[in-house]
Symmetry: D2
Subunit: 326 residues, 4 copies
């Protein structure tokens, strides 16, 4: 039987819709399993500073639908230092916390991995980031919501683009990965999608635009991943516009609204599943792993692998868009 | 090389959000592959009556985001008869249509199966129904949107339930399956979920409500699948209310709004993927099959199996809700 | 100078989106004017029972966008009795509350009026109800949100109605008034709108449907106010369907989702304006009045008039729909 | 009796949500009054080029809920010339169009005014712009929708701002007017609102932020109108950030999504009302006027006045926000 009596849960790094649903699931799964559970504010920073509070079932009532995170999030410079982590460990002892569930991205898991090596403390991670750039899970919490947010915004832009026969370059988030751009591009019927995983030949885009946009289309949408090597929506728009002053070009950077909002049903179910799975993993004597969803089933991957490996975008989706944008 | 030169596409049975995205994908994938493509109005009824029109790329512009189906849908009694299908076949010959893509549910595929047996015509099906009750695919087109629609509606009801400390019984669609109820129940943090796949012991629900709702909760949501054996939300609400006049009970039947609305990003990507996959399957000499998504990859299942087998709800989700509703 | 040092705020009766925005405005306007302010839970019930808590600026942070009411609401039988109001008055003295702001509908204001007569206590009302049925204000808080909720739901139903060429009877809230039905009917392009303020001749509707729906329309939407004398959507649908078995008729009762949801921008601005206006009115020595918006400006109307007079629906809107539904 | 037998309708300038609802109302009101009606594509450009098509009732079915404009819009350089307007007039004669309804903003009305002076043709304008910057109407079509779009986007940003205790500068549209910024700022509970109509003292903002944001607030939102004299969100953010490197500042430019989307119920009702009113005005022998809504009633204002006068923002709303942001 597991010796864990009390667990702590925190959110760290960039926030993502569905983090609250995950917190709720961790808290209730802990209580269901007769564990005590505390919430740690501000990520690792709050662990170091002892911003810790007992969580009961009622404390997570009516939060499943809320964006953001009730535990707040922060990036902690101090936790990167040996002393920082020492303080964190002292707080865990002082508060009798036996194990941690950390919700975040690869930065969060890197910190967790070092911590668990130094102090032999069980830590289980839950993938929470809109970017979907984590190896070991098909979906990260927040990704589906972000895609829907982008899709709704681009639908709106399509209205005005069509009314004026305009060509829009729309930049979406995703750090150095193209997951958001790719799926939202397909979902919005984008004429082209520029992602870091595929080299952007401006010349090809030019040819495509001349062939399709000028001849057939009443509006054009090019989705640009923020990490695309072309340098972002403004740069590529300028380059295209230079050669084609006859295009009526506009640029839109969707920005931080992609990080917020009430989570989609999909993200809530994923977050609920993974929150329970994280507590299960701790009770199952796991440590230094991330729980994920692979082919619809809960899976475990070591922090080490989750951090080191790069998740690939689906080539089939890239091909799909080439077909659909004719 | 395939001898198919011209394909027809139709939507049949209950409509579902994302059908337009699927039509768009079929049309463009056909054109991409140098095929001619026609749209058939009103499902099989329109095939019998020759309501057929040529589709070009532009005809499916700007429809990916629209609910409903631009080809309209209908249930055809005539297609169930030998003569009806004879007329349909004659129309196909007259219009030089070599193969069909049919978008719909099991009724649609049953008709297609008989038709393909009688006339040796290649027909490929795309699963389009909000109910998700088709064997051979993890997701049907429209399911994710319906769950989001339910989730948003229940979020609204939760607001007023909390303000008044009320207990709501909310009935959702799904025919004789509990897929919509189960996932939307988890997504909305429902206190209980009643689905046909699990026997509903009113007594158990009573006990749960007395233990949880009365003691801890500031509001209560019970999601009831329309096919649940308890007889629907009104019946079960009455039964519970009879024994507990002190509960402030309300009932809401969400109804047909679950069938409409702009499709979610997830459904649009699924519909786009399956539309292209259906044309690929035809070019690959497939017939009498449904294309689906299994573990994120395109799969084929015979109409026969898709119709005969019953898709199971995930037990893990049932257990999940028991944990999360404490 | 006003002798008011401390005010209490409560929400009572059916909740409405925007009540939280109004609470926020009352609390902050009070603090801005150097008053103390307390929140009273559960309406008059909480006043009687002393469920009272001090409110600071931070307590109303981040609630402007939330549906429901953080103070909860209830109907209080006890407050209708002399003893109930006596207890309420004693609580006010014990808690040193000099005046009240009550947010609700005519039931709320009726109670307030008696209370202020018996104890000479300044009470100012804010109109909070989705029904818009209060004399003395052009808009009540929650009305615009409810109309948008209905409009979005009917848009979804229109999708599926068009796909199947169906005739829908959709019942909306509004108690014995037709405000919600009328504006949402126009906003959704309804083929007909049935409201209590206009007699419903089933025969006329029949004629209209035969002339328009059968001949020209690909779908039909009839919006029915819950208070309509025809007896509601089910009754009227049955009556029409009896004579016209060839119509493909469906009924949808939108229900309690109309009471919840994040308030629209319009409702938030109205609630913010009226919340500040209510505190201003108290400081201006007003009592027994409701603040409202008339022609975009803050106005005052006595509780007496607000309760007794009946607000009329705009005839111009009735005529408008006759023109637009051709 | 009016000698008008046939009218034309066009949309011009920047598009706005609700333009389709206005087109629908114009077309149906014309038919209701036994007039013929044609749609003119691409604004004045299409009038010059004869892009004109007959409109029947069915042509405007199911468009009330769509963003953009089915008639498309454009800015026409040629219509600014004498020859351009001559061609337009010739087209009107050739097509037997007796009068025009033009939907747009002040540029649209300026063109209309000159045209009606030169050729004595009745032209009635409908105010369609998200900016609400037209004198003679309380609301322009698209304004309410744009505010709701901004409000939903800022709600999302608030989620992530709160999770990270960040200060956001969010730039919204409105050309040289602050209407969108002001109402959406109040609706989102913005900590500060910068609009062209009020001088922005960076120093004051600094003081406010130091007093409020640093001491009390868990997040900060500053709404900046694009026309604000401070130079836009980036400039002001940089200025504030220079002095306060300790603030965690982010900038978001909401961009063109503000111009699209399904119109709000309010905009649909306004558009429907004004569409009918425009046809009524023509039948009433009006010319060279804009129809508007003042205090909820239809009003007429000459193009001359609508163009020359500047609509003022409500001072009461400015004061309101100072109170509510404490």
């Amino acid at each position: 039987m597991s010796k864990i009596k009390k667990i702590g849960v925190l959110t760290s790094g960039g926030d993502a819709p569905g983090m609250n649903a995950a917190i709720r699931a961790v808290v209730r799964a802990a209580i269901y399993n007769k564990l005590e559970v505390v919430g740690i504010m501000q990520g690792y920073e709050g662990l170091i500073n002892g911003e810790i509070k007992k969580m009961k079932s009622h404390d997570v009532s009516n939060i499943i639908q809320r964006g953001g995170t009730i535990l707040c999030s922060a990036r902690s410079e101090e936790f990167r230092t040996v002393e920082g982590r020492k303080k964190a460990h002292e707080q865990m002892i002082a508060n009798k916390i036996d194990a941690l569930v950390v919700i975040g991205g690869d930065g969060t898991f890197s910190g967790a991995r070092v911590f668990t090596q130094e102090y032999d403390i069980p830590v289980v991670g839950i993938p929470g980031t809109i970017d979907n750039d984590l190896f070991g899970t098909d979906y990260t919490i927040g990704y589906d919501t972000a895609i829907n947010t982008v899709t709704e915004a681009v639908d709106k832009i399509r209205d005005t683009a069509s009314a004026h026969n305009r060509l829009f370059f729309i930049e979406v988030m995703g750090r150095d990965a193209g997951f958001i751009a790719l799926r939202s591009g397909i979902a919005t019927g984008a004429e082209a999608i520029l992602i870091p995983e595929r080299e952007t030949h401006t010349q090809e885009l030019q040819t495509y635009l001349e062939k399709e946009y000028k001849e057939h289309k009443t509006s054009g949408i090019v989705i640009v991943a923020e990490g695309d090597k072309s340098g972002g929506a403004y740069t590529i728009a300028q380059e295209i516009g230079k050669d084609h002053p006859e295009y009526d070009i506009r640029v839109s950077i969707l920005g931080h609204m992609q990080r917020g909002g009430s989570p989609s049903a999909f993200d809530r179910v994923t977050a609920s599943t993974l929150g329970v799975a994280a507590v299960d993993a701790l009770l199952d004597d796991q440590k230094s792993i991330m729980v994920g969803l692979v082919h619809g089933e809960v899976s475990h991957v070591s922090f080490n692998k989750a951090i080191k490996n790069k998740k690939k975008v689906k080539d089939s989706l890239l091909i799909l868009n080439d077909i659909l944008s004719i």
